[in-house]
Amino acid sequence: MKSIKPLGGWPMRLGFLVDLSRCMGCMACAVSCKAENNVPLHSWRLRVKYIDQGEFPNTKRHFVPLRCNHCDNAPCERICPVSALHYLPNGIVNVDHDRCIGCASCMMACPYNAIYLDPITNSADKCTYCAHRIEVGMMPACVVACPTHANIFGDLDDPESEISKYLQQHRDVMVRKPELNTHPKHFYVRGSTVALDPLASERPEGYTLFTEVKFLDHIGGN
């Protein structure tokens, strides 16, 4: 994986891996993320999408946790006019809420729909891999909350880290939209096109399991 390194290089390159065969769609990660980061209603840094495939009785359900991919070549960082989105030395793409002018360019640039405008602060926000927890030596909240250890987090540059070993031991590692040259640092093991390509499944209006709202017409507080 090619890295866009600053002068002197990264001290580490943090990444995420989700083993989709372990995920059971319990949403513990999404709830813990909400609680840890005070994410407001109708906004999500991490969400779990359910996709049903096939016809009864030959059906299967995919659970796909979706969060910021912390790309090495992040389009959101490049387009942000005031550097509110910026790289941390550990490879995390972080947000400075006080710097953000709320132009939403980052939302237009992100191919993963991982950025939202916080309706309370009116600033762009997204998953930061819980940078504030990592700073004091803790794991991201979603990793701690996951009951099946489907979320694996660590230093991609350290060959002894769990994530590096997982990546070395599995042949079916996927990233979302690799053709866009964003170099995501978020990987999926045992994924599929249905799970990771948003256009490979339909989004029917009005009859999902728990909600009838498919799109939000109102964005932020403007």
Partner: protein
């Protein structure tokens, strides 16, 4: 489609950049188009330059003012706009655009002062930097679109040429409208040339739209779906309305006007082009935002 459907997900943001951004692009096309064409006509027809020396700064300031107004209104933190200058991030086409447009506003103010005081040399001195700034003010939006990796149709290679053609359409149409409203003050040869510019720009722009969207190979499934949205989806009325009003109707009316020397047809064609340009820019902006990215 693999017989799969999303059975649970959160509600996704839909239209993030809406009519304010469409208006930004539309108004900027008029401001820069009148400036670029105005310089051409001042140089080519110095005996008729008073019309252009007057209307270049007036139209420019009005429409670049609208551009700046809607840009600031669209910000969720409009009172932090100054940070784009204080904390400029120059890999961003948004930043480059803000700086270029600011420079262009200064040139327009100088041009305005030149017209008010009758000091032609003052405007002449800033024509070259003005041309450069107007050119880059026209195309920087293509840079923003190019950086918007998530919305693939915006990243088409001809986007920059399309923006320049939009400026030519808007500039020539705006001058034709002003000339008609103020009692045909331009000589016939200038009016005819404005008509030819509108006709030619509309023709080339229409050919590019059709060629790129319907005859070219789409480089991704997302781009293909966006074209479906444009042609048959919820934005189709804007798209086809824009195609007819911006390109087809002006070409017919301006063609009739120049052929039969009935210039009120050119006025109607110019009005149609100005209205249609907003519609087609709006369709172009909205269509990629109607599809889910995740």
């Amino acid at each position: 489609m693999l017989g799969a459907e999303v059975t649970f997900d959160v509600a996704l943001p839909k239209i993030v950049w809406g009519w304010l951004v469409s208006t930004n692009m539309w108004a900027k096309s008029i401001a820069t188009g009148t400036f670029l064409l105005g310089l051409y006509f001042i140089k080519k027809y110095p005996e008729q330059d008073s019309f252009f020396r007057k209307w270049v700064p007036i139209l420019g300031l009005i429409f670049i003012g609208i551009t700046l107004l809607v840009t600031v209104l669209d910000l969720h933190h409009m009172f932090r706009f100054w940070k784009i200058f204080a904390f400029a991030h120059f890999t961003s086409a948004v930043t480059l655009g803000a700086w270029v447009v600011s420079g262009f506003v200064i040139i327009l103010l100088i041009a305005f002062w030149s017209w008010v005081t009758g000091n032609k040399k003052l405007f002449d001195k800033v024509m070259i930097p003005g041309f450069i700034l107007a050119f880059f003010a026209t195309i920087y939006t293509a840079g923003i679109m190019g950086e918007a990796t998530g919305r693939e149709v915006w990243v088409f290679p001809s986007e920059m040429i399309s923006m320049l053609l939009s400026a030519m359409i808007a500039g020539s149409a705006a001058f034709l409208i002003v000339d008609a409203i103020y009692g045909k003050v331009l000589k016939e040869n200038v009016r005819r040339e404005l008509g030819y510019i509108l006709f030619g720009s509309a023709g080339i722009a229409a050919a590019m739209f059709i060629g790129e969207l319907f005859f070219a190979k789409m480089h991704s499934e997302f781009a293909y779906k966006v074209v479906e949205q444009l042609a048959f989806g919820e934005v189709a009325p804007f798209f086809w309305g824009g195609m007819f009003l911006t390109f087809i109707i002006p070409m017919i009316l301006v063609g009739i006007a120049n052929e039969n020397r009935k210039y009120h047809y050119a006025f109607l064609g110019a009005l149609s082009a100005i209205v249609g340009l907003w519609l087609i820019k709006h369709a172009w902006l909205i269509a990629p935002q109607t599809l889910p990215l995740s």
